[in-house]
Symmetry: C2
Subunit: 646 residues, 2 copies
């Protein structure tokens, strides 16, 4: 086993977020979205699309008559809601909510079959098809989400009921599939149970849960693949984009050189591999993760942390293929990327992972939800031309405006469970000390070795890079504070108690301060945030000759409402000064950008479609706003990448 350096996240219940940027959004999740979502799951929202998810459990429990309704993974909506609600209980204790949750957990228990099986679709609608469609049936996927819910609820409340239910279900699964002779050699087409089983193992300490996760990961991709024998494999059969690689099943996981296939599935697999490596120290898994990490972060990721550049099959395509207007970049895939990076940081506190986590979080994830928390994007393109979205068949997966969450139930609860558990992403600890991965205002109660330390972080991040951390150790004690230096920051300064730290020790992107910390010590990290012009790798053909604007972690974009139509006609000279500006019609504190640019003069062009000679151009005061906040005003065009003039 190769030496590796494990860190453990500081759990969410120890980190109290007080941030101006995040607090309102998290509050909204707990106070509005989670109750609203419960109503949606119970079809109590007039005019909304039916969910039927709770009713399906009632039918499976024999408490109601009727037919199963919804997707075959409808159960996972209930599970994800339980998980998010559990997280919200941690910061917002609510006996009423807990009572509702206990009720639905009772119901889930009644829907569980004699043998431990638990899935309403394959209980009510197609009992004859149990375990017949691993490609698209989502049975183990739903089991995984129920396990995550059970662990979350157990950790939030100490109550074991749902944990016992899923343990019984897992026992049944172990009786059906696994490496032992006579058992089926299978795994789920949509990864999820693998990471859930590691969570379960960490909650129960029962090795069999870890062993099952490991089995699914090791079995995956063995050839010839049992998936290819299934009736539903390939979905529309001849569709090559639904082949084995769609399921990350084209090769054993250690032999997959690229991030391939359905992007969310890939993220959940890699997250599970990282979990497994953290538990087992298997260096071959870490090597495999290194390859797919290079593939994603080095060749297959949008600047927003969006992944999956094709709508059809919601998947990765090939290196440097990152079209802006027909991107898929599903919100859930960016959330999955955050999950994965968080686990990579457990394996190694490396700023490159935290950079990607931050990039996804502040851009491709947050773009998925409107500022008022009521509307969602599933698809997060980097360029939107509303007429093309309406009129072109190859844009049909794109929406020019966010939609209310209940239209489809996949991304909204995923955002909810990420935001309600955001605290756990900020810090981690190892034997040497504490690492600070993200900057946001919070107070954290951290155990470093045998010492209890409170850290109070103050900042206006992401709008300002002045970060103060007050250290309050229980008693004076020596440990390391590792402060992430973001990859976007070229010149930074670090002070302790007002004294600059000269030549600080920087290890893999973290400035390491080791000292005996005393009550009231103050660390100040200054991360200047000039506006940066970012270029894409020259093989990203869509972005040739173009620049993106970034300030701090925030990627910017142009909107029609600020810049008029035909954003493609705007160009920015290489020498143009880009200024920060207050954003009057944006959220409090948010920073806009302005520059003197040019735009092609449509009025001066005339009627001809093609013409010999120069473009007429006119001056244009360009205004850019944070990408994650686009589409909250008037609908219209949007573009991240801006043409640059010589």
């Amino acid at each position: 086993m190769r030496e590796h350096h494990l860190t453990v996240p500081v759990p969410m219940e120890r980190v109290s977020i007080r941030d101006r940027f995040w607090r309102g959004r998290i509050d909204q999740m707990a106070r509005e979205v989670i109750p609203y979502q419960w109503n949606a799951l119970n079809d109590n929202i007039p005019g909304a699309e039916s969910s039927h998810a709770v009713e399906n459990f009632k039918i499976a429990a024999g408490l109601a008559n009727g037919k199963f309704y919804g997707e075959r993974f409808q159960d996972s909506d209930v599970a994800k809601w339980l998980e998010a609600a559990s997280y919200s209980l941690v910061s917002y204790p609510s006996p009423e909510l807990e009572k509702v949750m206990d009720g639905v957990i009772d119901l889930i228990g009644r829907a569980q079959q004699e043998d431990g099986y638990l899935n309403t679709f394959f209980t009510v609608a197609q009992p004859e098809n149990r375990w017949k469609d691993f490609s698209h049936g989502h049975e183990l996927y739903c089991a995984g989400h129920m396990i995550e819910a059970a662990v979350a609820y157990y950790q939030a409340t100490g109550k074991r009921k749902l944990l016992d239910i899923v343990c019984r279900y897992v026992d049944y699964i172990i009786s059906v599939m696994g490496p032992e002779e006579g058992k089926r050699k299978v795994y789920c087409g949509h990864e999820e149970i693998e990471l859930a089983l590691v969570k379960l193992y960490r909650a129960t300490g029962d090795e069999k849960h870890l062993r099952l996760s490991r089995y699914f990961i090791e079995e995956r991709g063995k050839q010839p693949s049992f998936l290819a024998e299934e009736e539903t494999f390939g979905w529309i059969f001849k569709d090559k984009w639904f082949g084995l690689d769609y399921h990350q099943a084209h090769a054993p996981v250690r032999e997959q050189p690229h991030a391939d296939g359905h992007a969310v599935r890939a993220m959940y697999l890699y997250a599970a591999m990282a979990d497994l490596a953290a538990e087992t120290g298997d260096s071959t898994l870490i090597d495999a993760l290194g390859k797919v990490w290079q593939s994603v972060a080095g060749r297959r990721m949008y600047i927003t942390g969006g992944i999956g550049s094709q709508g059809h099959a919601e998947r990765f395509t090939f290196d440097y293929d990152l079209p802006n207007d027909v991107a898929y970049a599903e919100t859930c895939a960016s959330i999955g990327l955050v999950f994965w990076m968080h686990r990579m940081l457990r394996l190694e506190p490396n700023g490159a992972y935290a950079d990607v986590m931050e990039r996804a979080l502040y851009n491709g994830v947050l773009s998925g939800i409107s500022l008022d928390g009521t509307r969602y994007f599933y698809v997060n393109p980097l360029e939107v031309h509303p007429e093309a979205v309406r009129e072109r068949a190859d844009h049909k997966h794109v929406k020019p405006e966010r939609v209310h969450w209940f239209g489809c139930a996949c991304c909204p609860p995923n955002i909810a469970r990420l935001l309600t558990s955001l605290g756990q992403y900020v810090y981690s600890t190892d034997v040497r000390g504490v690492y600070v991965h993200l900057y946001m205002e919070n107070e954290a109660a951290i155990t470093v070795g045998s010492h209890k330390v409170t850290i109070a972080q103050k900042t206006e991040y992401p709008w300002d890079g002045d970060v103060t951390l007050e250290v309050h150790p229980e008693r004076e004690c020596e440990f390391t504070v590792g402060l992430r230096i973001p990859g976007w920051c070229k010149a930074w300064m670090l002070m302790v108690n007002g004294t600059p730290v000269l030549e600080p020790d920087v290890a893999r992107g973290y400035a390491m301060i080791r000292r005996a910390w005393k009550e009231g010590d103050v660390i100040r990290l200054l991360l200047p945030m000039p506006v940066e012009r970012v270029k894409a790798h020259p093989l990203v053909r869509e972005n040739a000759g173009k620049t993106a604007l970034q300030r701090g972690p925030m990627v910017y974009c142009l909107e029609e409402t600020d810049n008029g139509p035909n954003l493609a006609g705007i160009s920015l000279s290489k020498s143009a000064d880009i200024r920060t500006a207050s954003w009057e019609d944006g959220p409090e504190g948010a920073v806009a950008l302005e520059a003197e640019a040019c735009r092609d003069d449509v009025a001066g062009w005339g009627q001809q479609l093609y013409r010999i000679g120069e473009f007429p151009a006119v001056p244009h005061r360009m205004r850019a706003v944070p990408y994650s906040m686009w589409g909250n005003r008037r609908p219209g065009e949007m573009a991240v990448w801006i043409r640059e003039r010589g």
Copy 2:
């Protein structure tokens, strides 16, 4: 009726093309492609996809047993072949070919039903569905192609047999549908019969043929539409891209403000409308044509004369939506555009129509066929990245290389019938004289008023713009020679017998020389062909900041085989000199272009996907070749639009 100025094309049999550029391709059609295609129609090509088209006629005639095989418009392959073969008989008399044609015409006669009906699919396979599927059944479309074949064969040979067959069929059609009470109020989802009936009228002089064409055109688009009531309407029913506008049936033809729907269908409709206007002088039709002409040429046409910017439903989308890489730009649609423009020139000798005709002919049509005449593109994108074509679902309609013609039978015979009848596109006459629309080496025997005049045109066009026309009138006579001044030509010079014509009269793009012409008078037109940088309208967002290179009528492109991979990384400074160069591995006489450009330096970039700062760039000797000739060497990337630097 608005005054309009009719001209009549000089028919193909009077124009003998001797051109280095065209002659070889036309020869190839007559000597190789037409016999080859006959074998294909008879399934005599080992390894080729089955056609069964002749066999279908045998089965329908009761001369063979078996099942119908192929598309429901399979009959049209036989008809288009007969039409092209008829044209080739004009220049290449062949008793053997004529005998084969007489044989198949006999067979067609035997396949005709008692009542005059003639369609093997609806005779053999689905007799119960006759006239039930106007949306997608192609019955009248097939009838139209058979009528065109009949007229062509009659004009080539003087034999009436096929003409009589189709006249009987038309009589039957008239008995079923038409404006009279009790008849069905219908028209074909795929236009074709409308223009064919005008040809038939011109051959027979029978007004009923013109009346039926007029009826179909006038009936089209009346609301509510009978098409929308048909079972197959909308194809996959909910697919909005197969709605009424797909068939140009969303409004009466005079009320269609844009070119909409399936591009080939639209071209055939507009061609028929122009034919009808030429016969009737209906100025409201001419006004309607003016609107769709503005729509196509001003807002919806690629620089190559390609039309139809979406693969799904092979159709027009919206103004200025001209993506290069996912273009459809079907070869048949550009051929249809040539057909339409030719008819517009009949209504009015306007250089704008001839410019578009030339643009399509030398670029978007010719790109459809390989230099050796054996391989075809159906789809003619302006940018090809082979990996994207292979790996992206939204590129699946694109092929990175031409395919052998028999894979699908639509475009190849369309190219054949255009090239074998190319002579008719060169000249037209009116009461005042003769118009020269296209420049190519040929000898033409023209009747101007009551005078016979031979014109011998000598030129190396399109590679050189020095055009000489020797005028040989039967006897000295006064008439006008109108020489088209191409829209791409900014400075030209005209001489008669060596004397410059100062301040020549230019009317709608034609330099008009009126004089008493004597034997041996020589007109010399010098059309200098500097390399031009063409820009697209600033609302064509795909081409913002880009330039296309054009020399004479030829649009150029970059190929990977000359420029290495990642063509998107190449940029051309605004001041760079672009030189002509001989093209060693191109066809004889063809001109390549060269310039000192830059390319983004992939090697100097490193591993990062995104980076702050400038692109490293390195010098690059750029080489461009004619677009219509791309893909004849090693496969690889191709791009028409090149990034321009300040």
